[in-house]
């Protein structure tokens, strides 16, 4: 019988997959996660423009932004990884903040 996984465990599994799997250069993929999470990282245009838009206002992403990344990296799979890494960075940033807040409140309550 397997032990049910917690949300925290599943979040870490996702983080590990995004940072360690895939076809992109690991440094590029981790930079997408970091910028997706609102942190600093070195990332060339056009990747930076797409990733920052996904992080801040994903509904404003344009065809041209996605096409520019697809053409720069040479495949749909690579462009997909950029998009997924940026999105995961944004989601995990929020999860980390929520978990920290909940645990602090829980600890305060004793």
């Amino acid at each position: 019988m397997t032990t049910p996984k917690s949300h925290a465990q599943l979040a870490e599994r996702l983080r590990a997959r995004v940072e360690n799997a895939g076809i992109l250069d690991a440094e590029l993929r981790v930079a997408c996660v970091r910028i997706g999470a609102g942190a600093g990282a070195e990332l060339d245009a056009p990747h930076r423009e797409l990733v920052a838009t996904i992080a801040e206002a994903s509904h404003r992403v344009t065809d041209a932004q996605v096409t520019a990344v697809q053409e720069a990296l040479g495949s749909d799979r690579a462009a997909f990884e950029v998009i997924m890494a940026a999105s995961a960075g944004a989601g995990l940033r929020r999860w980390d903040a929520a978990l920290r807040a909940i645990r602090e409140a829980s600890d305060e309550a004793g």
């Binding site: 949300h7 599943l10 940033r93 929020r94 999860w95 978990l99 807040a101």
Partner: protein, 193 residues
């Protein structure tokens, strides 16, 4: 859908599945399902497993309450695909008028105090994550939520912070209302992983 390979499938098996499911269902397989089929060696399976846990596994929140949270989170991300898809599931367990009211303004919608308190926490988590603190969590716990309930709600919001960004960045095609309703039946039956 902005990436052709994601739309058509990245293997013969997935291309056949997409065609077969679309034919069987009688409508174009939604882009969310095409993304779930795509690039299984990357992050998709891990995201699917967490989404399944958040949306379908044991929780004090009902499936419809979690789907309503997902739809409201999607509205904050300006994601029409996810608002439509998850609103269509929520109305199978919550009055449609209540879903509409929550999407319009969850603060004034006639929701339970605990659901409203969870959404207050989730709104700050989504829109001002750097300002989220123990004070926000304490406010939700003071209304009567348990730590587990607040974590479960936060997990729904976290996975939909990811899913809505994928949907918007890839420009998912928006199904008709009837197609959303039919896809809701499939998602209720099959889940997310």
């Amino acid at each position: 859908m902005r990436l052709a390979e994601v739309e058509r499938g990245d293997s013969m098996r997935h291309r056949m599945l997409i065609r077969l499911i679309s034919r069987f269902a009688g409508y174009r397989l939604p882009d969310a399902a095409r993304v779930a089929f795509y690039d299984k060696s990357f992050a998709g399976p891990a995201l699917g497993e967490w989404t399944q846990k958040a949306m379908r596994e044991s929780s004090s929140w009902s499936v419809s309450e979690r789907e309503l949270m997902a739809a409201v989170v999607a509205s904050w991300s300006s994601c029409p695909f996810c608002v439509g898809a998850h609103g269509a599931i929520a109305v199978r367990g919550v009055e449609p008028e209540l879903v509409s009211a929550a999407l319009a303004d969850f603060r004034t919608a006639p929701l339970s105090d605990r659901l409203r308190a969870a959404l207050v926490f989730l709104e700050r988590m989504m829109t001002e994550p750097d300002r989220l603190s123990a004070v926000d969590a304490r406010a939700a716990l003071d209304v009567g939520l348990t730590v587990d309930e607040l974590e479960d709600a936060a997990a729904v919001a976290a996975v939909f912070a990811i899913i809505t960004r994928n949907a918007n960045a890839l420009d998912y095609e928006i199904p008709t209302a009837d197609e959303f309703d039919r896809a809701a039946v499939m998602l209720l039956r099959r889940g997310y992983s």
